[in-house]
């Protein structure tokens, strides 16, 4: 488990990560969501022990990460622009990481290369951007660490590769409890991958929730009433947002569906139905409640 408390990192006058309290439980895929400059990469680099925090604590299984090789063996960090040695080939990189990570699975790495038709002797600089991302992921997965930190790693992967990576994640999660932590600025990249999402804005953590919980707890209802009812006429409901079009009232409501239905039925609607919420709509609602305009936070 990764825990941070009041984690803060400044770059001169800029507060890149601001008093972040976060808990990432094992064996789930955690998504770090935020716009450019929100602090996702900095948070990941803090977690990877590259940066030293100015304030707060960051513990991995209860131990500090910075300059702790034993702790660092528990994760593999993939940056958004991963470095490979000049003029090296895939084997060279495999051998290098094998020297650094005691449990590195050479055979597993080779089989991944075969599966994705990557020649081990091919020079890294001849690979496309997406192939380099794949290579980084293969190296990370073969390192056999418990955590995998991915910074914008899915950016550039084609749908087939994304699906394959999801399968690989699922397999590793099932077999050895891998916990991938994926930072991205794109909600759509994460919504079909992650179990939990943390939303960062200006260095601060706005929310951190399990997607399923969020989806189960927030509902979109639309109903038409004879009387001209407004959202304010439903004081018993926790309405996150509402919109009225003629007699049709559309509300995003937090709470249990039966209670919400009962409240609406009680006002004898002419028409009433519940609608599926996209992840984006869930986030819009949640962040607006927090006082933010979601479209300013995320693309």
């Amino acid at each position: 488990m990764i825990e941070t408390q009041a984690l803060t990192k400044r770059f001169d006058d800029v507060v890149a990560v601001n008093a972040v309290d976060l808990t990432i439980r094992d064996a789930q895929i955690f998504g770090l969501l935020g716009t450019n400059g929100a602090g996702k990469s900095t948070l990941l680099r803090l977690m990877a022990g590259i940066l030293r925090q100015d304030q707060g604590t960051l513990l991995l299984d209860g131990k500090p990460v910075f300059e702790a090789p034993q702790v660092k063996r528990e994760f593999f960090y993939i940056s958004d622009d991963q470095y490979f040695f000049a003029n090296c080939n895939l084997e060279d990189m495999r051998n290098y990481y094998a020297g650094r990570y005691p449990d590195f699975d050479r055979a597993g790495f080779d089989s991944l290369l075969r599966a994705f038709s990557l020649a081990p002797r091919r020079r890294v600089h001849t690979l496309s951007k997406g192939m380099k991302k794949q290579l980084s992921l293969f190296l990370g997965l073969s390192a056999n660490t418990r955590y995998l930190f991915c910074d914008e790693t899915f950016d550039g992967l084609d749908p087939v590769a994304r699906q394959a990576v999801k399968s690989l994640f699922a397999d590793r999660m099932a077999n050895r409890g891998l916990t991938p932590i994926i930072a991205s600025h794109n909600l759509r990249e994460l919504e079909d991958v992650c179990d939990t999402i943390g939303l960062l804005h200006r260095g601060g953590l706005l929310l951190s929730r399990e997607l399923l919980e969020m989806r189960q707890n927030v509902h979109k209802v639309q109903a038409a009433f004879r009387a001209p009812l407004e959202a304010e006429d439903f004081p018993e409901l926790e309405i996150l947002s509402s919109r009225k079009s003629g007699r049709l009232l559309v509300m995003v409501v937090r709470g249990e569906l039966p209670q919400i239905s009962a409240a609406v039925q009680q006002r004898e609607p002419i028409f009433f139905e519940t609608l599926p919420l996209t992840l984006e709509e869930v986030f819009i609602s949640e962040t607006e409640v927090a006082g933010y305009e979601f479209r300013n936070l995320i693309v």
């Binding site: 770059f11 680099r45 990877a48 022990g49 590259i50 940066l51 030293r52 300059e67 090789p69 034993q70 702790v71 660092k72 063996r73 593999f76 960090y77 940056s79 622009d81 991963q82 470095y83 040695f85 000049a86 090296c88 290098y96 094998a98 020297g99 650094r100 990570y101 005691p102 449990d103 590195f104 050479r106």
Partner: protein
């Protein structure tokens, strides 16, 4: 288990930067085995020599060259210094690149380990090519048959190279940790390698400029400079003056350990986000900036002062240097030209501080320049500048560190020591007079010829107080000798002073060899010219009589020299000088070898040049008796004179054509022309005139070309573009040049 060992990881780093050791390998290949092979082949080629003896000598020289090659090797040294400067930025480049930092620092490896891997790889990148080429060079030496190489000497040479290289590397590692990007890394390397020596030289120059009485013993400062930086220490090995001692080895080892420890400490605290910045640690900005600013202010101030000889320009230089250096550094720190407008107040304060300090020194607010200790003086040591030094030089040609010791700047003072109370009192009076500088008004102006500076006295004095402390001043004022003759005579009346002054006579007769007798041209003396005005451009023929018995000559010469009073010396300047060599061993057993005197043979000798006066009748007679008649060494009364005329146009043309000193016209004086043509003229025909006559005729010519109102202020300064060089040639073909400044009558 996959874990790599430190060495295998370092080998990995080495392989990834293989291009650099490959380059070094080829550089060493040319500098070491190929160069050695070509040089030895040249030495040992029989076709180049006409006699077997010459070939034999060449073989000896080849052997000496080989020995020298393996013990020092200037090419190797230059290459290793270059490598030390260039290698670290390559191997620690990852610190200056954000991608690489993220990569390396996310790995489960301690920073100490990363540091060790890259440091070892960087070391191997230079050491391996060097060692391979060292072995190849040994093979070359063996193949070409030059023996006499001892394994110890080769190992010692190799070890000293590696030790100094390691010390430079350790410093380079500190630089790598301080710098945030490659450009600053390179600049900072230059700063750290050369900062301390430059700062010391700046300090010395500053005090010499602003405190004329400050006596800098340059050789001691040289020692400090050389030991202030591993780079300077390394470069000092290029000459034999400062060979590595065991003390140096220990000091270097301590330095290496401390520097590596410091570098590691910095690395541990180095923020990863520093990659790409100018400096990794913001606190180091002022620490680097302000000393550099000080250096720049000193440098600019001194350079402008040297050019202008005006202290106003000194302060202009200080302001300019301070401003430029501060603003350039701010721009570098911020990578933004707008940085030039930052930190103006601290810059102004620093400049004000520097100029204020300079003003205090310049105006001698603390009375440093005029201080003369008046009481409790136990001894005085005096070194007279100029003619009172009797024209002898005292220098070490080669020094082995044995009993003869080194002649340093202090030696002249030590030779002028007196503990006689009368002499001490006299020197206190003289110091007070010099501090007041009675001739300042005259000296500051252009002096007429008859006031040539041989009639003035300047002195460096060191007073030893009763409590053992010393006060040393170089009194920069001057006084006419006639006004202080009593003080001087009081000092010269002290026999102990005289015996120290002419300490050559302490040597055993067998240690001394008469090397040469050289005349001071009587024309110069007759007209009050300094011998230094007459420069001999051709080497004097050396006497080369190694086994000559000179004991009687020495005794006679000593007697006549010590018997001569100071007043007599001043009235009749010397007619020549005797050149003696003093050896450690019996000179009969040694051979002179100017090029390759082997220090390890303990061969060392000093050169004494003592004055010879016309009144030394017995000495002159003995010289003739042992084979040196006056006609052999004195200036002969047969002269050919050629005058070369220069003017501004000719100089300008020479400069434009990049030719050196071609005269506008050459005028040769014909026989007997001195009476009718005392002044060179351009109207002479192309064939010119030739004059053959005695010294008096030439003297008349020289006198005529030297009007009383002409200005003479040394060789380097001219008030007009017109000057004439008169070249005298004696019957032996020796050339003597005189330059005169005077208004030509065209």
């Amino acid at each position: 288990m996959n874990s790599a060992t430190l060495l295998s990881s370092a080998a990995g780093v080495f392989r990834r930067k293989l291009w650099l050791p490959a380059l070094y390998f080829f550089a060493f290949l040319f500098v070491m085995p190929i160069r050695l092979a070509m040089t030895l082949q040249n030495y040992l080629d029989p076709a180049r020599y006409s006699s077997s003896e010459a070939l034999l000598r060449a073989a000896e020289r080849a052997e000496l060259y080989t020995r020298e090659f393996f013990s020092a090797g200037d090419g190797v040294l230059v290459l290793l210094i270059f490598a030390a400067f260039f290698t670290m930025p390559v191997f620690f480049a990852y610190l200056h690149d954000q991608r690489q930092i993220d990569f390396y620092h996310s790995l489960p490896v301690r920073r100490e380990r990363l540091f060790a891997e890259h440091f070892l790889a960087a070391l191997a990148a230079v050491v391996l090519p060097y060692l391979i080429n060292l072995l190849l060079s040994l093979a070359v030496a063996a193949a070409l048959g030059t023996g006499g190489l001892s394994a110890g000497a080769v190992l010692a040479g190799c070890a000293s190279h590696l030790l100094l290289l390691l010390s430079l590397y350790a410093l380079g590692a500190v630089t790598a940790m301080l710098a945030g990007n490659r450009i600053v890394h390179a600049l900072l390397s230059l700063v750290l390698f050369g900062f301390a020596p430059l700062l010391i030289y700046g300090y010395v120059s500053l005090r010499e400029t602003l405190q004329p009485a400050w006596y800098s013993q340059l050789i001691e400062w040289d020692w400090i400079v050389i030991h202030s930086s591993p780079a300077a220490r390394y470069i000092s090995l290029l000459n034999d003056s400062y060979p590595l001692t065991w003390g140096d080895v220990v000091a270097l080892l301590v330095f290496i350990l401390l520097a590596l420890f410091f570098a590691l400490l910095l690395y541990r605290h180095r923020p990863s986000e520093a990659a790409g910045r100018a400096l990794a640690f913001p606190i180091s900005r002022p620490i680097i900036k302000y000393p550099l600013m000080l250096l720049a202010m000193t440098g600019f101030a001194l350079v402008l002062y040297l050019i202008s000889d005006d202290l106003v320009w000194y302060y202009v230089g200080a302001v300019l240097g301070g401003f430029l250096s501060a603003q350039i550094m701010e721009v570098i720190y911020r990578f933004d030209f707008r940085g030039a407008a930052k930190k103006l107040l601290p810059m102004a304060a620093m400049i004000l501080l520097f100029c204020g300090g300079s003003l205090l020194l310049e105006h001698d607010v603390f009375g440093y320049n005029s201080y003369v200790p008046q009481q409790n003086v136990a001894a005085v040591e005096v070194y007279f500048r100029g003619s009172l030094e009797d024209y002898y030089s005292y220098q070490v040609i080669h020094q082995s560190g044995t009993t003869l010791g080194a002649e340093d700047a202090d030696a002249r003072l030590r030779r002028g020591r007196s503990e006689d109370p009368a002499a001490i009192a006299a020197m206190q009076r003289l110091a007070t007079i010099l501090a007041e500088d009675p001739e300042q008004a005259v000296a500051g102006e252009a002096l007429p010829q008859e006031n040539n500076n041989h009639t003035f006295v300047r002195a460096v004095m060191r007073f030893t107080l009763d409590n053992g402390k010393t006060v040393t001043r170089e009194y920069s004022g001057s006084a006419d000798v006639c006004t202080v003759i009593d003080e001087l005579e009081a000092l010269f009346a002290d026999d102990d002073f005289l015996s120290r002054r002419y300490n050559m006579f302490e040597a055993e007769a067998g240690q001394l060899r008469l090397q040469d007798v050289i005349s001071f041209e009587d024309i110069s003396l007759e007209y009050g010219l300094q011998p230094s005005d007459v420069l001999s451009y051709e080497e004097q023929a050396e006497l080369q009589r190694l086994n000559l018995d000179i004991s009687e000559l020495l005794a006679t010469y000593q007697q006549e020299l010590l018997a001569m009073s100071l007043a007599e010396k001043l009235e009749a300047p010397p007619i020549g000088r005797l050149v003696f060599y003093r050896f450690q061993k019996d000179p009969g057993t040694l051979e002179l070898n100017w090029e390759n005197t082997a220090v390890d043979q303990g061969l060392a000798y000093m050169c004494y040049e003592y004055p010879l006066y016309a009144g030394f009748e017995h000495t002159l007679a003995l010289l003739e008796e042992i084979g040196y008649p006056p006609e052999y060494w004195q200036f002969q009364p047969q002269y050919a004179v050629r005058a070369e005329y220069y003017d501004e146009e000719a100089d300008a043309a020479n400069n434009a054509a990049e030719t050196d000193g071609q005269p506008a016209a050459e005028v040769t004086f014909s026989e007997g022309a001195a009476e009718t043509m005392p002044v060179p003229t351009l109207e002479a025909d192309a064939d010119g005139w030739t004059i053959t006559g005695d010294a008096a005729e030439i003297a008349a010519l020289a006198a005529a070309t030297w009007p009383a109102d002409a200005c003479y202020s040394g060789f380097t300064e001219y008030d007009s573009g017109d000057r004439v060089t008169i070249i005298f040639r004696d019957e032996f073909g020796n050339l003597y040049y005189q330059e005169r400044l005077f208004p030509l009558e065209h």
